[in-house]
């Protein structure tokens, strides 16, 4: 189990002196790795999911649900069991899972012990493995504790007891008005990360999510529950000082963001080129899948007007200074940087001829010296820009013991920057020169779902989309600024049904003038279009006609009338060509049915369902407040759904979880 390297982390004042060192050696390490692995060729798809759990502790007497802060103990038991199991083959199931700490001390991350491989049969292993993980995690918890796959915890940071055990807020690392430092994973890396983000930024992070205005919510909404302290200058009054915006839910610590859970999928590509292609194609789907998996409508005890976590995390780790954010003229800093370290990707990186230069239409901030160093060493333009863009950031956590390493062997400094650029996609080199693992791509935008059935469905859908993308050689490119617009829209309440997203109209390679017959009724060819005007884009047609606004339903389920198959159509057409045995196909059909119904509104997203749960709760006062009792009942219901004790057809239809 990777419990992260141990060492003595540097305070920001010291770390910043070594930033240049880490970047310089990080690039040397990348170049060494590149030289050794650029021609790496794999035969197989390997892939895996990462599911993050929150451990909720129930107090049945007071009807309270709290986040349990003893996950470190649980992780240590799991790690020990995992080690022991490797020596004892009868205990194989423990080797089938792997456990990792996360930012929140109440969080666990579980992955399959070995990657999934063969398609389509291995797809059925996904849900089984997720269930096994949940069961194992539960096994090492107290009877009143449960692992819940919830994207954001509704009452994190609320006054009173939201943590078990209870600690007073306002520690020296986060200086949060709402949360104690004890909510942060005890490993030295995490509190240092939080503190150094604050120190680098020059102030606490400020997260403001719009409140959902219900009938009785005050207008304007000025949060009466924000406490004041006397320890630091910024403590006095978050509202008067402008950190907390009116009509918003204000949060002031990294834990509000990095304490959210998500569902991430990583694929091994056969080589660098394929990885770059998957990166670009899937990047356009980031916002679509964010809206479709929306599961985070409540923050700090209030119903918000957003459905997704992404921007909360972006703001929670925004280490940019005022200069970098464009609030002050540049003096001590090098760049104005438009986005947080946690945000959507800024450039496409594939050398696929479909990737036209004009699609990279966001002015890219990158380190010119690093770009030159990469170029001089044979890295092509797009990749050099990508890496030198990641390297505009400073390393946040540097361990004294790991400052000077052998650049031929270590990738620590490269990984330091790579792994603290949290974007919608991640392009990952092999872990080391000699690793059997190849080039990988991580799909990072999805929100974690309440049940293993749903998480398996989304994981499987995404892996099938990548197979269809490669098999059909699809072209999803739209200008990357439009992907960013989609990202904004994806957060809106009920975006899945209420919003439209930019999407490419013609997603197949244009080797044929005119599109092939579409919607042709069975057995009856339509009139030949050999002599008809071409339906495709004539030369010189403007780029804006390549894409249009579509609903998520259209993007997923297609627009048959205009010959747009939708992502699900692509996946089904892909599957129909494989030799799939009936059992596998029936199981996969259920997963795909869930995706279809979420996209067309037959079934609710977790976000909509939770909103409805709160708004229908007898204790809810139409004032946006999610009380302790409502939260308790919500957590209980989520747990019962997982155990199959409660049916929620509006969320899950007739599917068995």
């Amino acid at each position: 189990m990777g419990l992260l390297s141990l060492g003595t982390p540097m305070h920001w004042d010291e770390a910043k002196k070594h930033a240049h060192h880490v970047r310089t050696h990080g690039i040397i390490q990348f170049l060494n790795l590149w030289e050794a692995t650029k021609d790496s060729q794999k035969d197989c798809l390997l892939w895996g999911d990462e599911v993050e759990y929150m451990v909720v502790s129930f107090d049945e007497e007071t009807k309270r649900a709290r986040l349990s802060l003893r996950v470190w103990e649980i992780l240590q038991v799991l790690a020990k069991q995992e080690e022991d199991a490797k020596l004892d083959p009868t205990n194989k199931q423990l080797v089938d899972s792997s456990w990792h700490p996360e930012f929140g001390r109440y969080m666990l991350e579980g992955t399959p012990g070995q990657p999934y491989m063969g398609l389509p049969r291995d797809l059925l292993a996904v849900e089984r493995n997720m269930k096994l993980r949940r069961e194992l995690a539960r096994k090492y918890m107290k009877p009143n504790e449960v692992p819940i796959t919830l994207t954001s915890y509704p009452r994190l940071g609320c006054a009173g007891e939201c943590l078990d055990p209870h600690y007073k807020p306002h520690g020296p690392a986060a200086r949060s008005l709402f949360l104690p430092d004890e909510v942060i994973n005890a490993h030295a890396r995490f509190p240092t990360l939080a503190a150094n983000i604050r120190r680098r930024r020059g102030s606490k992070v400020a997260i403001n999510m719009p409140i959902f205005h219900d009938k009785n919510t005050p207008k304007p909404f000025i949060d009466p529950t924000i406490p004041t302290f006397d320890d630091y200058p910024e403590d006095k009054n978050a509202i008067e000082q402008g950190a907390a915006l009116p009509d918003h839910i204000y949060m002031d610590a990294m834990a509000f963001g990095m304490g959210c859970s998500c569902l991430q999928i990583t694929f091994q590509a056969v080589n660098v080129e394929e990885a770059r292609k998957i990166y670009d194609q899937m990047a356009t789907l980031g916002p679509i899948m964010l809206a479709l998996t929306a599961a985070a409508p409540i923050y700090r005890g209030y119903l918000s007007d957003v459905d997704c976590r992404w921007n909360v995390i972006a703001q929670s780790v925004d280490d940019r200074t005022e200069e970098e954010r464009g609030l002050k003229p540049l003096k001590d800093n090098k760049y104005r940087i438009p986005k947080s370290r946690y945000d959507s990707i800024d450039s496409y990186i594939s050398n696929d001829p479909n990737n036209k230069p004009e699609y990279n239409d966001i002015p890219l901030i990158y380190d010119k010296d690093i770009y030159k160093k990469l170029s001089d060493n044979g890295i092509d333009d797009l990749l050099a820009r990508h890496i030198s863009h990641l390297f505009i950031r400073d390393p946040l956590v540097i361990f004294h013991e790991l400052l000077n390493v052998d650049d031929n062997e270590s990738t620590d400094h490269f990984e330091n920057l790579q792994s603290t650029n949290w974007q919608t996609m991640r392009f990952k080199p092999p872990p080391s020169k000699t690793s059997p693992i190849g080039w990988r791509v991580e799909f990072r935008s999805m929100e974690v779902q309440l049940t293993d059935f749903e998480n398996a469905a989304f994981a499987i859908f995404i892996v099938l989309v990548t197979r269809a993308v490669l098999s059909f050689n699809t072209n999803f490119y739209i200008p990357i600024s439009k992907v960013d617009e989609n990202m904004k829209v994806a957060h809106h309440r009920n975006a899945v049904l209420g919003e439209k997203f930019h999407f490419r109209k013609q997603i197949f390679p244009q080797s044929r003038p005119g599109t092939p017959a579409t919607g042709t009724p069975s057995g009856s060819p339509r009139v030949s279009h050999a002599t008809l005007p071409h339906l495709n884009r004539p030369a010189g047609q403007s780029q804006s006609e390549e894409y249009e606004l579509m609903t998520i339903d259209e993007i997923i389920n297609g627009k048959p009338s205009v010959g747009f198959p939708g992502l699900l159509g692509l996946v089904n057409n892909y599957l129909n060509t494989l030799n799939v045995d009936i059992e596998t196909r029936c199981e996969i059909s259920k997963y795909l049915e869930l995706i279809k119904k979420r996209a067309n509104g037959t079934l609710m997203t977790a976000a909509s369902w939770m909103r409805q749960f709160v708004q229908n709760h007898p204790e809810y006062k139409q004032d946006s407040v999610v009380s302790e009792k409502i939260n308790y009942d919500l957590m209980k219901t989520v747990e019962k759904i997982n155990k199959g004790e409660v049916q929620v057809p509006e969320l899950l239809g007739n599917f068995t979880v």
Binding site: C44, F472, R512, A517, G519, G523, P525, P565
Partner: protein, 320 residues
Amino acid sequence: MTAVQAPEGFHSAVHGAVHATNGKQGSSPRSRTAPVAFALEPFSHLTLYTGNTMRTGTTGLLNTTQKKSNQELVSAVEDTLNYSLETAHISGTHITIADQDARGPLDSDRAKYDITVKLFFLSPAGVSTALSVQHVDEALGHLDAVLHATDLVIDHFILAIPNQSFDENELDDAELEAFAQEVQQLYLPVWKRLSDLRTGGRIGRLGVTEFSKQQLVILKEAALAVGAVAPEIDQVNLHDCCVLPKELIEYAKAEGIELLTHGDTINILPKSTLATLLQPHLPVASELSLSPNFVLKYSAVLGGRGLITRKGYIVDAVAA
């Protein structure tokens, strides 16, 4: 390869003159605005190799709400007629139309691929003629020609007999007897030939489509009686696959028969459909009402990566 050159290894049935028309050469766009010079020839034998339907958009654009469809084949044939007619090879009254982009060897080692072939025998409803062993050999020859291979090993081979549709109801004694007779008289020679290919290593697993349990039993008995192998695959329609009769599932498990899914219609290329497809391009041949002998569907999948790299159809039709 340029459009007018006679490709190497072209199927042996096609000799002689190569028609180059319109003076158009090279690849895309290959659309045609004028009829080909031979449009009005009375061809009595048509062979057609479609493009790679994974790359022409044909497969990706299918409407998946249809549980059974021949839309892929129809679109692929239409596409081939639209873009590859000019490069047709003509030998007497036999015309061979081939999408040249779809031809060529597999990109990687053969061992990395899972190759599946489904051979549809077609005959008009109500006409009972024995399936032709010669058609099997011709079809496989065409496949070798498309993939520039010699005696290509086929991992999964599925035989689709004419007008066979899955019937979950029990057959009565008379129906059983009738089916046993059909197997003996119409299908067994072809099955024996396929079985020999299976035994000889040319075919990996051999199967049928749309068979009920009782029909599988009958085929097995008949096959074993002549020293042929029993079916190892039964391909059933997607629509039925979640409600398959238990007896079939149990029998398949006991016999080691793979139950696979498919989405093809029963009669994948009715004569009238072919005529309609040909009409705008080869009106005289269309009027001759060519009757399809067989349709071969093939796919090549890089198993480890889950990638479909090649998929296409081979159609062979003659004037009755």
